[in-house]
Symmetry: D2
Subunit: 139 residues, 4 copies
């Protein structure tokens, strides 16, 4: 199974008055990890959108066991938990560099749709991309 | 049970290149609803923080059945699903004004901690606030 | 001269670890003020975009003399400083409610373009909208 | 003169419905560049805050000559234009990688203050940090 590791440095803008990263920003980091994961197929998500494939989020689950601070070096681990012709579920672990503790665990569920937000069967319609995603699971 | 209704007008900054609100912003709207809900106790969340009570998020779940667009008038409905001396679970429904369809459903779980992020027993330590929150459930 | 007043309540997400609103968020509040100002013409900015008029920002200037905090009630005053067929300059004052002190002053310069980001002459091409904007200056 | 170059990859969250990066996000990128610039002194901005030195923004100027898109690789060039014991002015150029065109130019003015937001004389009070910053200008 392919696991992508993305590095992120915490921005001041991402903190809140509690002195830690505001909780919704982890969802943005999931997106950063997902973008890099998809790039590993050889087809970027930008390219997919140009080809009329959108992958909007339909569900998010996220558990916070710790918190990141300004200037922390963060690792986002991203992998595919489940893939079907109509949807894909990504999972994420967020850690600080040089620390094994997982501070945030999450998953996001996405559907494959076109510009009109109609569900598409990615396996049939874009077999090439389907195979590239599927390969990252078996890897 | 007390249900708070907060109105929000979608900001341009909240949209993304899909032409709809970026999914993590709904978590910010949950926070706006939660802030107003807590105000209904007569003690604002700002006041709580000044009294050394923080209520960080430890879990978020969110399902997206639709999407909001720039300048849409949005309603966030917020209520308490569960309250214990150590934690509180809020639930949310997000709708467009003048439309019964719920576009986003979510919940957030929070713990009561002090400035050092140590769990506190709010029922014992801040009985007054505990009773005010509890009252909003029985209302 | 028409001056729009918009109310905003500071969100927790808008604060940073300094305990005050992160400085780039005032630009978002300018946008909220501008959106409401434009609505006062009777044609919303959403409608303009549907009619192929975009008004991107080409310059921002902003001076901070104070700061807003979580749950503060804020007023954004917005007006047009300059209007020509190719561009418009908005000015803004940001204050706390019930306080005369201006905490942030700013201006944003915008050009009128179409979807292909080509400059358009709004006076010639959309005389109707031009007149509505011009009227708000003379008011 | 020391010029810091920071790489940033555009996030989906940073785009808006115009299909480009929302204008206030460039201010966040300025902050990312500034953070790295300050690190080059050997004292991180996190460390400065722990030592009771805050450097809030009091003025921002920004000109947009182009726009960045999702997944673009961006370079933020950051340098100090002016340094005095009470304030510092940073300047920034933002470019796409492998393209000489500057898409955004900006400057931010900051004051040196303590936790109570009182102006401090950094040259007298923190001579060590003063010298490190000054050295980056003469470099």
């Amino acid at each position: 199974m392919h696991i992508n590791e993305t590095k992120i440095k915490v921005r001041y803008a991402e903190t809140d008055q509690m002195g830690v990263v505001y909780h919704s920003n982890y969802l943005v980091w999931f997106e950063v990890g997902r973008t890099e994961f998809i790039s590993a197929t050889g087809v970027s998500y930008s390219d997919m959108e140009k080809n009329d494939i959108l992958i909007p989020v339909v569900e998010v689950n996220c558990k916070y066991a710790g918190s990141a601070k300004y200037e922390d070096e963060i690792i986002v681990k991203t992998w595919i938990k489940e893939l079907s012709p109509a949807k894909v579920i990504f999972e994420y672990n967020i850690l600080k560099e040089n620390d094994d503790k997982i501070i945030v665990r999450g998953s996001t569920t996405h559907v494959f749709v076109n510009r009109d937000f109609k569900i598409i069967n990615i396996k049939k319609k874009y077999t090439d991309i389907w195979e590239k995603l599927a390969k990252l699971i078996d890897e």
